[in-house]
Symmetry: D2
Subunit: 371 residues, 4 copies
């Protein structure tokens, strides 16, 4: 019964500045995007991606203002907005709008499964649970809910989980301690890493990459040999629960879009990405040629500097440079490696990758419009 | 008569810090390198590659101290030492030692031509000639001398010209003006760009890429549509003439090493480099596999941010970032693109490319040990 | 007739982030500030103060949103909002709200003159006039209008002129050229400097510091020996005319606030500021003691790196540091020098000072609540 | 018996680059400095003062090369060379040469006590002792030895202790663990902080500011309420023991030089420095006037960002800026505050101040030539 099928649309739109929502505004005005169907917006803004990067909040504020003119304030709040700072090198500032529509087209379906999107929010995370197994379990449950929302039964069909998680502030820490308990960390900045790390492990548990029973509190942000190959987590001070978006393949969705993923073992390990592209139907020996590029809807990757201080046994200086953060170095360099493969530069390459792929490498997801 | 043949050797050595000459010291101690045969040393050091980068001078001082224990001070002065600051992203600090030896092996030669090295110095450049056609002509003559030194007759056999050129200081400017003349620029920093640009044009003239009669003073650092595809020039306050090293192919040299070059049209244009690799006998569809990497002796490339503010019609932010120099962004990103192709990170990627390849792109030379 | 007198109020409010308008919101809620009376808001935000500083626009957007809930959109547009990026060192992000009220208090006036505020906007500046004498003249006329608005007859009573001026974009340049004319510069970034410089000279002309007849187009951004000691100009892409705020002393205003100014000859020349403080009634030998600090309503100063490369014959490295902009160095250092005098850190120290005080120094204005 | 008296000389010399030893060379050539009498050289170089600051090693290498032409290699090794990176703001690169000579002048002594210099080295520090009370005790003993060398009996006469301490490398950590012991930290970067902190506490114990019996291992780099007001410690990978230089007042020394110290409670607390100046005979209400400046031989201060995030209850952004290290911010700002007092910019302001003065403040020592 085709009327029950949903269909995902991906819109990759340029941004001339962090607060530039002009391309989105135009797409809405032209009817290319229905604001009511927007599930999530991922954006790469041109700040430093570190502590004092205000371009993320500025972008979110501008998106909220625009969307608030089209849908209710509550509907705006339902949209997951994940802004990632840092377009180093020739990476290009852009946003990726994930839209879901009922499919009203009558044609018989071409593909058995298509790109499926789902979202969920967890209950509020107790401060004392942050960075501990309780958070892992809570996130795992949330991911399963988002999978159900997407109509994905098989965890093997999930290729990307974007998750925003809470962090600790001094107020939250003190509230925990007033109840006679202790938080996993007292350093608010470190709490971001613990929250991202525990959340990534939770994704891994939900997807069957990891077993909750094999994990312990002590492993979180310590045993980086355990990780998810499909998680992308980021922290935000503005929420107390978890905001989860799942992207995968489902028979409940139609349309030409498909997603797959790969894991880069180090900063220049592009061949797994090439193999994923081939699985998606774009099988190219060198750089993706211009004609095929238009069929690539989105590239979502993680970049970070290897803690070993080396890439394939050659020393890198990213961790020793006190003038430029290692996360900025890593995004520029991995961005270059991936742009060399894909042939374009508006790639969603984000940093900070606790328990998200191996040290110095990271997951990469690709969404393609099938021929 | 094989005894008259020369043979080039390339040694790519890691550096643990700008003053680390330990690998070179060990190679000399083990007899792998004969200090008397060193023609040039190119190094990538981990400074910012900009005005206040003292890692270059520190490296040169350390090399001079080491070599001074093996050969005469005059012999040390003959060695061209070109340190390029900036190993952004995962680029790895290293030095490339160019050595020439008489070939004492008796076997019949396998290759018609082999990697040939030559060097030359020009007369002292008059201050009023810097950044003008007189410098272009002087450099062109110097390149021809270096070609002769290398035993290269055909300019088409030259694939890389590394050139160090002088700059203007306030003292030099005033000396010119005391003689009633005027310099091309009065800004000492800009004089570096003019000297690099005029030198690159001089290389182009020597190699037949450009005609001196088609050029004018006004085109220098202005009409960037005119450029050499084989020049790499850098300025130094320590010299008043030009120090030139030519690398190409010659029947007067033997051994398995060969060089070729390509031009990247933009920051992610890696396919021309792949084609050059194939011409050199390493024909690979994706990333160069581990087995073939060892045969790549050196990769020498230029990187810079496109003045258009775009790469393939997508905006880049390199020229707008007041926290990180565009040259640092560009080296990291282009370094990533090239490392994605070559599969290793000790690539000689340097910035500043007036009249050296097209805007936003640049020349790349590759030296390979043939099978 | 006291009812005709006006009274200026100055509110120096902390900002916890560029978009934090909480202190202003609270002051309005408590009736301490009447939004309808706000003449201007100056803010120091924590961006880099250079090209890619989005904290300024983010702050303005947040102020507009808040004020738009209290007064009409047109009234919001009337308020001059000048955000200056860069709170280096221990400078503290803050905003200074300039408010004017009718004075309804019945007491006989204590002071002959009090702080007076006036504002004006000029006609739209033709693109071809930017950076030329025509702009100087236009600004001079605008400053005189703002003086009239403030009720200041004697230019000697003006101590501070804050001015926002337009800049050239490629569109504006092309529009000029389409009319067969030429702009003073074709580089859009440089056009900001030319606009700031011409505007500062215009202030100097209006205040009698300079004579229009002594100036020429060629002197603008070239002959820095000519400057105003009371101008603070900044460029903005959002306007085509000039937005002018004048602060001085007038018998038409009442209340304890008074303003005076001084000129620092170099980055550490704090004694003129001390002398200005003494003229305002705070005569202290060392650092202003805690008790007197509360009486200092605002400190408005300019900082820049001396082009000579020296401060009192000792070399500084601000212009050679490719990792940190010289403007950031200068604000931190001058901020420290001034904080050592004033004893607090929420000082409005801004950079970029073409024709605003001598090279390496700059004007400083101080507003004090008299005893 | 005047022939037994010693006399200290202080030479503050400009540096045009990190490797510029020209002023020292000239002073030696002119007989102003006897290389054999040099006790210590402190230098401010223009690097970033952080991990990848190679200007310090470059300066030391250049000094060693120069001095090695005048005295034996062993004598060069005896000279304490402490290079501090970072001349932010208008701080000026310079070196301070501490020289001691026998006093051959016959005049009756004018001052009861004069500036006295002493040095000492401790035994090699066992890796497992670093950052623990054993290091504190070892340093305390070393400081007492240096005091004896200086002829200072009363700890109250010591005003400045410059100390270079070892750090842990992976090799050293593994050597400790091979013996079945554990080091205080396993992070090599953190080991620098622990070594500096324990050394500073050792200075405090030697000077009677702290009691060894009141301290515990757990307090090191944790309880910052305990500190020395006269210690300046820095780590170096090149030594395994401690290199100590003490400066104070002693009747065994003659000449017009005198030293005193003060403690800044925060980044703008300059009045204690003014009071110290007054005690040394330069009693000035505002900035030190030009005539008196020449009598100030050296200013040695510490700067760091307050961990509280505030200066006098106003927020600072130094710890949140991911583009510029907080240590760079702090040196620029405190440098400005002190230059505003002293009237010149070649001040030795260094960062990193574990247990060296209160949080956000730091010790300052001043050496003056008495009238």
């Amino acid at each position: 019964m085709p009327t029950t099928l949903r269909r995902a649309h991906i819109h990759r739109l340029p941004m001339r500045s962090p607060d530039d929502v002009g391309a989105l505004e135009a797409a809405i005005a032209q009817g290319d995007i229905d604001p009511a169907g927007i599930v999530a917006i991922l954006g790469k803004t041109e700040g430093n991606g570190c502590v004092n990067d205000f371009t993320r909040a500025f972008a979110v504020r501008s998106l909220e203002a625009l969307l608030g003119r089209h849908v209710s304030a509550d509907a705006v709040r339902q949209i997951a907005m994940v802004m990632s700072g840092g377009t180093e090198g020739a990476l290009s500032p852009h946003m990726i709008v994930f839209e879901a529509r009922g499919d009203d087209e009558a044609q018989p379906r071409t593909f058995a499964k298509s790109l499926a999107l789902g979202r969920a929010r967890t209950p509020v995370l107790a401060g004392e649970d942050l960075g501990r197994l309780a958070q892992v379990a809570q996130v795992a449950a949330g991911v399963r809910t988002a999978m159900a929302d997407a109509g994905i039964d098989d965890a093997g069909d999930v290729h990307y989980v974007q998750l925003k998680c809470p962090l600790l502030t001094m107020e939250r820490i003190e509230a925990v301690e007033a109840r006679g308990l202790r938080t996993a960390v007292r350093d608010t900045l470190k709490s971001m890493g613990f929250s991202r790390g525990a959340s990534a492990l939770g994704v891994g548990v939900a997807l069957g990459e990891l077993q909750l029973s094999d994990l312990s509190d002590a492993m979180i942000c310590s045993d980086y040999g355990r990780y998810s190959e499909r998680a992308a987590t980021s922290g935000g001070v503005e929420l107390l629960d978890h905001e989860i978006v799942v992207a995968g393949m489902s028979a409940g969705w139609t349309g030409p879009l498909a997603i797959d993923h790969a894991v880069m073992r180090d900063a220049i390990d592009i061949e797994p990405a090439r193999a994923a592209l081939a699985r998606l139907g774009i099988d190219v020996p060198g750089q993706v040629p211009a004609a095929a590029r238009d069929r690539i809807a989105a590239v979502l990757a993680k970049a970070e500097a290897a803690q070993s201080g080396k890439v394939r046994d050659r020393r890198h200086i990213m961790l020793d440079d006190s003038d430029v953060s290692s996360t900025r170095h890593a995004r520029a360099f991995v961005g270059g490696a991936l742009a060399g493969l894909f042939g374009f530069t508006d790639l969603f390459v984000s940093g900070g990758a606790e328990h998200q792929g191996p040290d110095g490498g990271g997951p990469i997801a690709i969404i393609v419009e099938r021929a």
